[in-house]
Symmetry: C3
Subunit: 133 residues, 3 copies
């Protein structure tokens, strides 16, 4: 149920973007309690000057490979679940496409179950049997 | 007061995008209690690989015409209002520009009235008589 | 801790975009209680037709220089703080890059401290001494 906007500098290969997408999804499934077929992501590739980030604030040093994930989640998660997700995400991305943990930033926002319509004009999580997800 | 980000694959005509914008706005006005002149939308057109979506999760099958609406609302709506909006939105978009209901996904986030400044440096909904909206 | 998406029409110079970024950051630091080195922004430049806005709703008239800031904040702020931020932001942007207050729109969303991982797979605000920010 999460929707994630992924922002990074333009210039990576399609294979890199695919591995980025795969790594995020793997971390969501393994550590954020997301069903394997619940995969919705939007990648925003940015020109020089469009992605503004401080290189050393609360971590880093960040490099030109900086990537920011803005996750909109469908229901609350505990602090423990969020912390585990952050940890596992940097592991997945270090493996492929090979991103340094210092370059991975995440922000989570939370909505309610009736805030989602996946298709067909239905409030998918509370109609049509979707509630169990 | 809602702000909506509309994400779809690049390649549609200006007329298509205009009809998409019109259809969303009509649904917001008719079913989501939005004033007719309260229209703020941002369209993001994506390259191949940037829009990642599962074709069959909780609906579908989704096609290359998949469109995702992320609505930031200014105040809470009931589940009934949200459900009616989802239903009416797919009707409007089926009419024009002619989108299959299976290709329409919506996510709503909610803010508070003092989270909006429409112009002029004012907290528009609580200053300058905007509160009635 | 805020992350801000800045949306405007494509066509401005790099200097203009830099001044826009600087003006926002100055307003956040001076009026929204943000540390000076806590700077994360994403600029989205839009083609004609992608940025849809009503010219006269609750303010305006808006022009082609319309800019929309969507701020995701890490913790709640009072109405007074938000109002002061809106006011100061238009002042900063009027000074440079020279934007009319009528063209400045802001929407704020709020998250929780454990919703942020700035780097390294840590829940930065509650681990590693970040809580004091």
């Amino acid at each position: 149920m999460p929707l994630t906007r992924i922002s990074l500098a333009r210039g990576k290969s399609p294979e890199y973007l695919r591995a980025l997408s795969d790594g995020l999804h793997r971390a969501l499934v393994e550590a954020f309690d997301v069903p394997p077929d619940d995969r919705f992501q939007i990648i925003h590739q940015h020109e020089p000057g469009e992605l503004v980030f401080e290189r050393h604030y609360l971590g880093g040093p960040r490099s030109e490979d900086f990537v920011l994930f803005q996750v909109t989640a469908g229901r609350p998660r505990t602090t423990g679940t969020k912390a585990a997700f952050y940890r596992y995400l940097v592991e997945c991305l270090a493996e492929a496409p090979g991103i340094r943990p210092e370059d991975v930033m995440v922000v989570i926002s939370t909505t309610q179950l009736d805030d989602w319509s996946f298709a067909g004009g239905l409030a998918s999580m509370i109609q049509d049997g979707g509630g169990a997800r």
